[in-house]
């Protein structure tokens, strides 16, 4: 890590600053598709996170690290856009206190705080987190001048529905070939429990890339995520090894399962582009604190995440596959490092046959 400039109120961290820059497109996208409530939530999460961290840092006589803003932005971007304010309040509380400060603050946590916080509220408030979504705004101006796109009074009541990925998994939404007739032009926002809607693969991919679909606040558009992600990749702010190994492994596993006709695996493209997978791969799996330090361990870590995401997304009852997988990956990160180091230490001895990791 680059030399840190001591400041009274904030520990400046250039790497974290770059991550914040990289998150700008996603945040802007959230505003464009779901209204002003999204940037408001980001600001709220950051301020609340700062206050909480300051309370703990004061007793340790350390300045608050800039990383808390990254946690705040990441956390806000993976919330459903219309979620009640108590959810980010509790989630950020958990993220900062239980997954970071109790371990001794920045640099000593072993779970990604934003994800741990999300995981907590995900289990705590399943209806708010997985059952209520709102449609993305229509038209060229989107929801730039709107508070929220939620249908209902006071701008908070969102509608019970599911994201396109959840519809796909449940079989309510089916993808056909690109040139077939009789498809819906757009992905419908609401699909009844017993309805079957067919759309072309192109429509789904377009929705996932541009992001004009229902989903979490800042993670609907693969294009905007990649914009920020490439910046991180280019400036080497995030580990290139992790990004590549997570994305490639996931694409390969999904495509192979798709070729074998395993239901409901949707194939490499929708899998990688959908459900904020890229967001997790670029911004969350690469968290320098909670991911492994050694290169071989990073590859294994990426494959581990990809594998368990595939399993959880397609064959379990939960939708938050990537979240659980990255947390699992975080859990294994230290031991992967230990394994790699001990393996490298006896590397001089002939141990080629045992290299099965």
């Amino acid at each position: 890590m680059s030399p840190q400039v001591k400041a009274k109120w904030l520990r400046k961290q250039p790497a974290m600053r770059k991550v914040l820059f990289a998150l700008l497109p996603c945040a802007a996208g959230g505003w464009y598709y779901f209204g002003l409530r999204v940037p408001a939530m980001i600001v709220f999460c950051c301020l609340w996170g700062y206050v909480l961290e300051w309370l703990f840092c004061r007793s340790r006589k350390e300045p608050v690290s800039e990383a808390v803003f990254v946690t705040g932005v990441l956390f806000a971007l993976v919330m459903p856009p219309g979620v009640g304010w108590h959810v980010p309040a509790i989630g950020m509380g958990f993220a900062v206190i239980f997954s970071k400060e109790v371990f001794g603050g920045f640099g000593r946590n072993f779970f990604n705080p934003a994800l741990a916080g999300r995981c907590f509220v995900y289990i705590c408030f399943p209806i708010a987190l997985t059952g209520t979504w709102q449609p993305a705004a229509e038209g060229p101006l989107g929801a730039l001048a709107q508070w929220s796109t939620a249908i209902g009074e006071e701008g908070t009541a969102a509608v019970t529905s599911a994201t396109p990925m959840a519809h796909l998994k449940a079989g309510r939404l089916r993808m056909g070939g690109p040139e077939s007739e009789g498809f819906e032009r757009e992905i419908p926002f609401q699909i009844g429990e017993k309805e079957r809607v067919a759309v072309s693969k192109g429509t789904v991919l377009k929705g996932l890339v541009l992001g004009r679909i229902s989903g979490t606040a800042g993670v609907t558009s693969a294009f905007l995520i990649t914009l920020g992600g490439v910046y991180l990749f280019w400036t080497k702010t995030a580990s290139r090894t992790i990004i590549l190994s997570v994305i490639l492994a996931y694409a390969v596993i999904n495509q192979v399962l798709f070729w074998f006709g395993v239901d409901p695996v949707p194939g490499a493209w929708p899998a990688v582009l959908g459900g904020g997978f890229l967001f997790g791969a670029f911004f969350m799996a690469t968290d320098p604190v909670s991911s492994p330090r050694t290169e071989p361990a990073k590859i294994v870590y990426g494959i581990l995440i990809a594998l368990s995401t595939t399993v959880i997304r397609n064959f379990s009852i939960f939708n938050g596959g990537l979240m659980f997988s990255i947390l699992l990956g975080n859990m294994f990160a230290p031991i992967l490092d230990v394994a790699v180091k001990s393996w490298q230490e006896r590397g001089s001895k002939p141990a080629a046959e045992e290299a099965t990791a």
Partner: protein, 204 residues
């Protein structure tokens, strides 16, 4: 040294004998009660699915069950509610995998073999506050009067808030998994029961 070991063995033997005897004694004394309790949970569930069988306490529930409910070979495994010498309804047992652990219950069917008179559970360990709400009246009551469908699934659970057609009830929001499994196990057992009932009717 040898004497010590013999003493230890003897001592263990005596202590075990004394405590086991006491435990066995208590268990024997209360065994009937324990068995009655287990049976009572089932009996109450069966009574609860028929609207006109109400009871004030356990003893009355047991008496009512003994008087009004019969197990007949021609009911395909269901309990039969007999009123004035006539069949007034059936209580079909349903069982299967819930979200966490098995769900067991009974569905009351009117003598027309199609209309549900009620539903009750006597064993479930779904998530408290979400799935476990299947035992609450707000979920169970709408089943009463629902008619089993013959084409397609007999019973359908639709998301809360959506409009209902015949043979549909609302699921519990936030407990999608429990409701899906419940729907599946209900439909499976009800369909199997209806089939074996119609087979019986076919051969007089």
């Amino acid at each position: 040294m040898k004497g010590k070991a013999a003493y230890a063995v003897g001592y263990m033997f005596v202590v075990t004998a004394v405590f086991s005897t006491l435990v066995i004694g208590v268990a024997r004394v209360t065994r009937q009660r324990v068995e009655a309790n287990q049976r009572l949970a089932l009996e109450k569930a069966v009574l609860n699915v028929f609207g006109d069988l109400s009871y004030a306490n356990d003893a009355e529930a047991h008496r009512l069950f003994e008087e009004r409910i019969e197990q007949r070979p021609d009911a395909a495994g269901a309990w039969v509610y007999v009123k004035d010498g006539q069949v007034a309804g059936y209580a079909v047992p349903i069982a299967g995998k819930g979200f966490w652990a098995p769900i067991r219950g009974v569905v009351g069917i009117d003598r027309d073999l199609r209309t549900i008179t009620g539903i009750a559970f006597y064993e479930q360990s779904e998530t408290p506050g979400l799935g476990a709400r299947i035992t609450e009246p707000f979920f169970r009551d709408p089943f009463e009067g629902t008619v089993l469908q013959t084409d397609g699934p007999p019973i359908e659970m639709v998301p809360p808030g959506s409009s209902l057609s015949e043979g549909q009830v609302h699921a519990i929001s936030g407990a999608t998994q429990t409701c899906m499994r419940l729907e599946e196990l209900m439909n499976e057992d009800l369909r199997a029961w209806a089939e074996s009932m119609s087979e019986r009717e076919g051969q007089p």
